[in-house]
Amino acid sequence: MLYRENGQFKASYRADQQIFPILQDRVAIGLLLVLVFVVIPLVASPYLLTAILIPFVILSLAALGLNILVGYCGQISLGHGAFMAVGAYAAYNCHARIEGMPLIASLLIGGLASTVVGVLFGIPSLRIKGLYLAVATLAAQFFVDWACLRLPWVTNGSSSGSVSVAGLNVLGLPVESPAQRYLFALLVLALFALLAKNLVRGAIGREWMAIRDMDVAAAVIGIRPVYAKLTAFAVSSFIVGVAGGLWGFVHLGSWEPAAFNIDRSFQLLFMIIIGGLGSIMGSFFGAAFIVVLPIVLDGLPYWCGIPIDTATAAHLTFMIFGALIVFFLIVEPHGIARLWSTAKEKLRLWPFPH
C-alpha cells in the first residue's frame, strides 16, 4: 500500500517530466544519497571501500558511458577499454607535465582526449553496422593498447611504460584516504549520472533511441544519423574517458596499459548487458554484479572454511561467471533493470492488481 501514486496529480508538464515523478521514489532516492554520501564513508571498512566500492563506482561510470552508445544509440563497441586508457593517459600527461594542474581539469582533459579518439573511431559506424562494427571497434582497442606501450610520450618517457600519480587533491582537499577517494569518485559519478539522465530523456536522447530502434524512419523524420551517432560516440567516450582517468588516478594510483586491455572492454559490455541495455540504473546494477560476483566467488571457500585450492576456485569462478551470463541472457535479456522495473510495476498496483 505504501508505494503508489494515487492522489499525486501533476499540475504541469515540467512536473510530469521529473526524473522521479513518484513521491516515494524521490524519498527513497534521498535516503539512498544520504546512505552513500554520509553513512558509508563513515562506517565502511577500508577494504570495502578500496576493493569493492571504489571499483564499483568507477566502473558504473564507465558502464554508464558505454550504455549511452550501446544501450541508447544501438552501436556495439568492443573497444571501450581503449577509451578508458586514452582518458587515463591523457589525464596523466596533464598531471605529470603541467605543474599544479588541478585534478578535475586533468580528468576533464582526459575525457576530451577520449572524445576525440572516440569520434574518430565512431566514423566507421556511419557505414558499418552491427557485428561488423563491433569487430571494427576492436581496432580501437588494439591500436590504443599498442600506442600506450610503444609511444614514449604517452607514458611521459617512463622506461617501463608504467606510470603513477601521487598527492591528489581537489581545491586543496586531499584525495588520499579510501573514504576521500570514494567520495570523490562518487561525486563524479552522481554528477555524470544526472547529466546523462538529462540527455537520454531529452531531444538528443530521443534521437539516439530513434536511430537504435529504426534508423530509416528516424532519417525520414529529419534526424541526421551522422549527428546522432557521432554525438553518442562523443558523449559515451567522454564519460568513459573520465572513468578511465578515475580508474588510474583514484583506484590504481599506478598503472600500465594492461589495466585497460580487451578484458576490460568485455567486462564493461557484460555490465550493461546484465544490468540492462538502455537504462542508467542498469549500468549500476551491472557494475555491482560484475565487481562483486568474482570477489564473492573467490572469498566463498575461505568464509565457509572449505579447503579448496586457489586454482580450482579461480577456474570455478570462470565457469560460474560464464554460466551466469548465459543464464541472465536467457531469463531476462533486458537485464536486472527490467526485473527491477517489473517489480516496481507490481508493487505499484499491490495489493489490488486490477
Binding site: 571499483p55 585450492d309 586457489t310 576456485a313
Partner: protein, 438 residues
C-alpha cells in the same frame, strides 16, 4: 563529523587489536599467486614452493621461535587490479608480514600503497630496478637481483664467450622482450652497456602474452644478431624457442633472463631447445637439505601443495628461497623486537633491511649450494646480485658458468638517478641515517 570519524577509526583499531590478540602467536603470510591464465605454468610451481616451505617450517620447527606461520593464497591471474584487490583484502589480517606479488605490474601498483599501510614488499629478482635504493624505496626489497643486474650479467657472460667485453664492439645483440613493464625494465641498462662496448642493440617487442611471434622471429632472422636476449615469461618463452627452431636461429646464441630459464619454458620444446642458456638465481634439484625436509615433512605426509615430481625444479626452488627470505626476515626482526612475538609489518621491514645470511647460516637452514650469502642494509635493499648461467641439454638444465655478479660501477649510478627521479615525481625526501636506525 571529524570526531565521529576518529571514533569509528578508534573502533576499527580496537577491533583489529583484539583480533590480533585473539589470533595471537600467528605470523600471517598473504600469498599472491596465479594458478590460472596465461602465466599459470610458471606461476604455479613458484607458488607451490612458497607454500610448501611455510608448511615445512611449521612441521619442522613449529614456526619461528614458537610463532606459528599461517598463510592464505589469493589468485591474481597476473592482473594488476585483481592483485590490488587481493592486497586490500589481505593487508588487514592480523599479523600480516609482507607481500610478494609475483608480478612486476602488481609490484608497481603496490609500491605506492605499502608505505601508507606499512607493509614491506618483497620482490626477489623482479620489480623496479630502482627500488634497490633503500633510501628512497623504504618498503621495497628487490632481494638477490633486478632486471638491471640480470641484463648486466648476461652481457658479461656474452663478453666472456667472445673473449672479453671489448670484443663486443660492432656485434649485434637483439632483445626479444615481453611488451610490458617487465620486458622493458632492462632496456636502459642494455643501452648503457651498448654505449660502453659499442655493440648494436635491436629491440624486438612481443605483444603479451606472446602466443604469436612469427614476425618477431622473422625480424631476428632479418637482423641476424650475434646473440638474442630472451626477456619472456609464461607461454612466451616456449613459443620463442619453438619459433627460434622454426627460423633456424641457433639456440646456443640465446640467453634468457632468470624468468625464462625454468622447466616449463623448455620441457615441451625438448630437443628443440638444446643449447639454450638462461640465468638462474638458484641451483635446483632435490639434493639440498631444505628440499629433502620438504619432501620428508610435507610431501611424505601428503600435504604437498603441488605434484611431488615438481619439487626441486627451478621455479619451485626459487619459491622456497623467496619464502625463506621472508621467514628469515621475521626471525631477524624477532631477535631485535622480542623472540616469540608476532612481528608487525614495520618490524619485518627492519628485518628485511638487516638480513645477514652468511654461508654458515645458509648451511644451518639447509640451503647449502642452493644460493649464495646475502646481507642487506638501509642503502642496499638488494643484498647480493649472484646468479649463474645454466644450459638446457634437451632433457635437463646444467650449469655452464660460475657464479656471476653485476657490475656495481654501472648499476649504482643508474639506480641512484632513477631513484631520485622517482623521489622527485612522488615528492619524497631521501631517508636520514637516523631513520635507518629506527
Amino acid at each position: 563529523m571529524s570526531h565521529l570519524k576518529s571514533l569509528t577509526l578508534a573502533a576499527a583499531l580496537l577491533a583489529a587489536a583484539t583480533g590480533a590478540f585473539a589470533q595471537a602467536k600467528e605470523q600471517f603470510f598473504p600469498l599472491l599467486a596465479y594458478r590460472t591464465g596465461a602465466y599459470a605454468p610458471n606461476g604455479t610451481p613458484w607458488a607451490n614452493g612458497k607454500q610448501d616451505y611455510l608448511k615445512m617450517i611449521n612441521a619442522r620447527d613449529g614456526g619461528v621461535n614458537g610463532v606459528k606461520l599461517t598463510f592464505e593464497e589469493c589468485e591474481t591471474g597476473y592482473a594488476t587490479d585483481k592483485g590490488v584487490e587481493c592486497y586490500e583484502r589481505l593487508k588487514n589480517r592480523p599479523g600480516v608480514t609482507l607481500f610478494e606479488p609475483q608480478a612486476t605490474g602488481i609490484t608497481f601498483a603496490l609500491t605506492d600503497k605499502v608505505p601508507t599501510d606499512k607493509i614491506p614488499l618483497l620482490t626477489v629478482g623482479y620489480g623496479l630496478a630502482a627500488s634497490q635504493d633503500g633510501n628512497v624505496f623504504k618498503w621495497n626489497f628487490p632481494l638477490m637481483g633486478s632486471y638491471w643486474t640480470a641484463a648486466d650479467m648476461l652481457i658479461q657472460q656474452i663478453g666472456k664467450k667472445e673473449g672479453g667485453l671489448d670484443k663486443l664492439k660492432g656485434k649485434k645483440i637483439a632483445l626479444v622482450y615481453h611488451d610490458s613493464p617487465f620486458g622493458k625494465e632492462p632496456i636502459p641498462l642494455l643501452e648503457e652497456r651498448a654505449k660502453m662496448h659499442g655493440f648494436e642493440l635491436s629491440k624486438i617487442p612481443v605483444t603479451a602474452p606472446g602466443v604469436e611471434q612469427k614476425s618477431a622471429w622473422l625480424q631476428v632472422r632479418q637482423a641476424r644478431p650475434d646473440y638474442v636476449l630472451l626477456w619472456g615469461w609464461g607461454i612466451m618463452n616456449s613459443t620463442a624457442l619453438k619459433e627460434a627452431q622454426a627460423t633456424g636461429y641457433p639456440r646456443e646464441k640465446m640467453y634468457g633472463v632468470w624468468w625464462a630459464g625454468a622447466e616449463p619454458d623448455v620441457k615441451d620444446v625438448g630437443e628443440g631447445a638444446k643449447g639454450y642458456n638462461a640465468l638462474n638465481l638458484n641451483n635446483s634439484g632435490t639434493s639440498s637439505k631444505v628440499i629433502q625436509d620438504i619432501l620428508k615433512l610435507v610431501h611424505d605426509k601428503s600435504q604437498g601443495t603441488g605434484p611431488r615430481d615438481e619439487v626441486g625444479t627451478v621455479l619451485y626452488t626459487r619459491g622456497v628461497i623467496i619464502q625463506m627470505l621472508g621467514v628469515e626476515a621475521v626471525r631477524r626482526a624477532q631477535e631485535r623486537f622480542g623472540k616469540g612475538k608476532v612481528m608487525t609489518g614495520e618490524q619485518v621491514r627492519w628485518g628485511l633491511e638487516n638480513l645477514a645470511l652468511d654461508q654458515k647460516k645458509l648451511d644451518s637452514l639447509g640451503f647449502t649450494g642452493v644460493m649464495r650469502p646475502i646481507s642487506t642494509s638501509c642503502q642496499d635493499h638488494m643484498g647480493s646480485t649472484w646468479a649463474r648461467v645454466h644450459t638446457w641439454d634437451g632433457s635437463k638444465w646444467s650449469f655452464t658458468s660460475d657464479w656471476l655478479q653485476a657490475d656495481e660501477q654501472i648499476i649504482k649510478p643508474m639506480v641512484k638517478t632513477a631513484a631520485d627521479k622517482y623521489a622527485g615525481e612522488k615528492k619524497l625526501t631521501r631517508r636520514t641515517p637516523e631513520d635507518c636506525q629506527s
